[in-house]
């Protein structure tokens, strides 16, 4: 009797193992997203959420998300919750989540972790980001062709390389069509405070700027420009509905295709831990369509520069580039390595402000 029982058990075991071998169906896969802001911010988190919706629609996977997660131990708890709910892929979309994700990745080797905008990887944790500075370069062209005072205001978030790189690329783009343009920077020390960021933009407009660009995830600066009859460059998503009278264009994110590609690779059991920094070539960053507020000829100038970026003949951070003091920072004929760009803590010539 015992023999029969063990035989039956063995058969059951073999069958269940065979069942495991079956290809994972997308609808059985749960993907978790950790967001730093609310999905209604109309900016950074909104863009990621659009990517999440695109992923659901394309692959039919189940997604769960958590908004406004603090960049501290909270995120660890939230990720554990998601794993408890069956998530086998997790995207965390803010810099401050990096160390917590790294820690969890060793504890849960069967979960695929993706961290946005950081630099750490482990066996089962990739990081990913986009070269938004390429699109910012293009938006700088539009702004410089529009300004009459030759002063562009830039409402900046925090003095970290990501933001500084954006300001520099924007300034280089602006100077490519108008060498006299200056870009004045104010720091708000916020990613998300619409009213405060609007106040910062007003301070810049009071100081003589007539075009406003921004790095935060809200439409506050756009509305300041609209109220004052000035013009503006948005960020993250197409902001034309929020300030129809001032908005010209915006460097925008398009995360959807990347999310689909990565989740598909996990479903196919082809996950490889990588550091991904995609540019306009991959379509992960773009310049939003120009509106009627954009100056005449801007479309042509943008198209030319964009084509040059796409075919590699235009590299944004290629020398000669001067720093604020007028010293050569990148020599003629050289261009910055990714590592230097990721650690950029200085302004190019033509930026008013300090990185402190």
């Amino acid at each position: 009797m015992k023999k029969v029982l063990s035989l039956v058990l063995a058969v059951v075991l073999v069958l269940s193992l065979a069942a495991c071998d079956k290809v994972t169906k997308p609808e059985d896969v749960t993907v978790g997203f950790i967001f730093v802001g609310p999905i209604g911010d109309g900016g950074w988190t909104y863009a990621h959420n659009e990517g999440r919706l695109y992923l659901e629609q394309e692959l039919g996977v189940k997604t769960i998300y958590k908004e406004s997660v603090l960049e501290d131990q909270t995120v660890e708890q939230e990720m554990r919750n998601m794993i408890d709910q069956g998530a086998t892929i997790i995207f965390a979309t803010s810099f401050g989540y990096m160390d917590y994700m790294e820690k969890l990745s060793s504890e849960f080797p069967d979960v695929a972790f993706y961290h946005c905008s950081g630099y750490k990887t482990t066996d089962n944790m990739s990081n990913y980001f986009g070269r938004i500075y390429e699109a910012r370069y293009l938006s700088g062209i539009v702004a410089a062709m529009k300004t009459e005072t030759n002063k562009i205001g830039y409402v900046a978030a925090f003095p970290i390389p990501e933001v500084i790189r954006g300001i520099n690329a924007f300034t280089l783009g602006a100077q490519s069509v108008n060498p006299d343009v200056e870009v004045e920077v104010v720091w708000t020390s916020t990613w998300y405070d619409p009213a405060k960021e609007k106040d910062a933009a007003i301070a810049l407009l009071d100081g003589g700027a007539d075009v406003i660009a921004q790095h935060q995830d809200t439409a506050g600066p756009q509305q300041a420009a609209e109220e004052r009859g000035a013009y503006s460059i948005g960020y993250n998503t197409d902001m034309s509905a929020m300030a129809p009278g001032s908005y010209m264009t915006a460097p925008i994110w398009n995360w959807g295709p990347y999310y689909v590609e990565q989740v598909q690779s996990v479903i196919d059991e082809a996950f490889v831990s990588t550091s991904y920094w995609g540019g306009m070539n991959d379509g992960i960053v773009e310049l939003a369509p120009l509106t009627a507020n954009a100056p005449e000829g801007a479309q042509a100038a943008v198209d030319t520069a964009k084509a040059a970026i796409l075919d590699g003949s235009l590299v944004v951070f290629a020398g000669p580039i001067m720093n604020q003091a007028g010293e050569v920072a990148v020599a003629d004929g050289a261009s910055m390595a990714d590592g230097d760009m990721l650690g950029m803590m200085w302004f190019v010539k033509g930026v008013i402000g300090s990185v402190e």
């Binding site: 911010d41 609007k198 509905a241």
Partner: protein
């Protein structure tokens, strides 16, 4: 300089409403830490009412009503059930943030209709608006700003020059003494907590309807907490609240204009709180009776314990 002062008053207006609301609540002896939550509820209600009806008056009234209803929850918990005020207030903040996000999902990406925006453009008051500097700063603003300091003055007169105001202050100082002199403590507390909540709601609505007339989640971004600090800073005085709010509004934006002096922006972010601590230290050293909080603040009132 004038442009800075104009921006300062605008930045201070949501703080002024919230501060007056909390001040009125604290005068009745109740500490309501739910200011942030009530502001957010007011913001979403004001935006919703303005967006769906296109009527600026309904936007304001919707915000006030919603803020008042949120405060009613707090009043029921702390006055009738005598629950812990600090815990109830914190719960209200969390509740308010959640409700605001939840209801706000309907308004994502939506913009305030032009009828409402145009109702809150700057309107110059004749004569007064022509005074140099002061005219531009105080009398060439939108209706909401005017409403802010008018309400502060009305509350001032109410508190210090009417019988009701006297009774209210008596309740805040010593509810049992007030009760024995025939004042209906429960009714007073309810009324002032609710009106206070309505004012907080209007402060939130200023942000969502006038300052950034497009739905943005969590638009208050911590201003409710600054308002609570402001009540201490202005020593529970509604007249001082006008100056205090504008000052704190100014402190929150002065950094943008002084960055070329190479002062860290974080320093300016911390400044409002530093100033509050300094005021607390000074007033506790002076031990003046007028500067101290209502004595019964934070204590639930049990009639039977008299």
């Amino acid at each position: 300089m004038t442009t800075f002062l104009v921006a300062m008053v605008i930045a201070g207006t949501p703080l002024l409403f919230a501060t007056l609301g909390e001040l009125l609540t604290e005068k009745s002896g109740n500490l309501n830490l739910g200011v942030e939550g009530m502001m957010l509820i007011g913001a979403v209600a004001g935006f919703g009412a303005g967006y769906t009806t296109g009527n600026p008056l309904l936007a304001i009234m919707g915000a006030a009503l919603a803020g008042g209803l949120a405060a009613l929850i707090y009043a029921f918990l702390t006055v009738t059930l005598r629950a812990n005020q600090v815990v109830s207030g914190l719960a209200l903040t969390i509740f308010g943030a959640g409700v605001s996000s939840f209801v706000g999902t309907n308004f994502i990406g939506k913009k305030m209709p032009v009828e409402v925006i145009s109702a809150f453009v700057k309107i110059k008051i004749p004569l007064l608006g022509d005074i140099p500097v002061i005219g531009d700063v105080l009398f060439n603003q939108d209706y909401f700003v005017y409403m802010g300091y008018m309400i502060a003055i009305v509350i001032g007169i109410y508190l210090y020059n009417t019988r009701f105001g006297l009774s209210l202050r008596a309740i805040g100082e010593n509810p049992s003494a007030a009760d024995s002199s025939g004042i209906n403590v429960t009714v007073y507390k309810y009324v002032h907590i609710i009106v206070g909540g309505a004012l907080c709601g209007m402060g939130g609505a200023y942000l969502a309807v006038v300052a950034v007339p497009q739905w943005q989640d969590n638009i208050t971004a911590g201003r409710g907490w600054i308002a609570i600090a402001l009540v201490i800073f202005v020593k529970w005085n509604p007249y001082l609240a006008i100056f205090g709010s504008y000052l704190f509004g100014g402190l929150s934006i002065i950094g943008f204009r002084l960055q070329h002096l190479n002062i860290s922006p974080q320093f300016f972010d911390a400044l409002p709180y530093l100033v509050t601590i300094v005021v607390l230290v000074i007033s506790s050293i002076r031990k003046s009776k007028e500067d101290s909080p209502p004595k019964g603040l934070g204590e639930p009132y049990f009639r039977e314990e008299r």
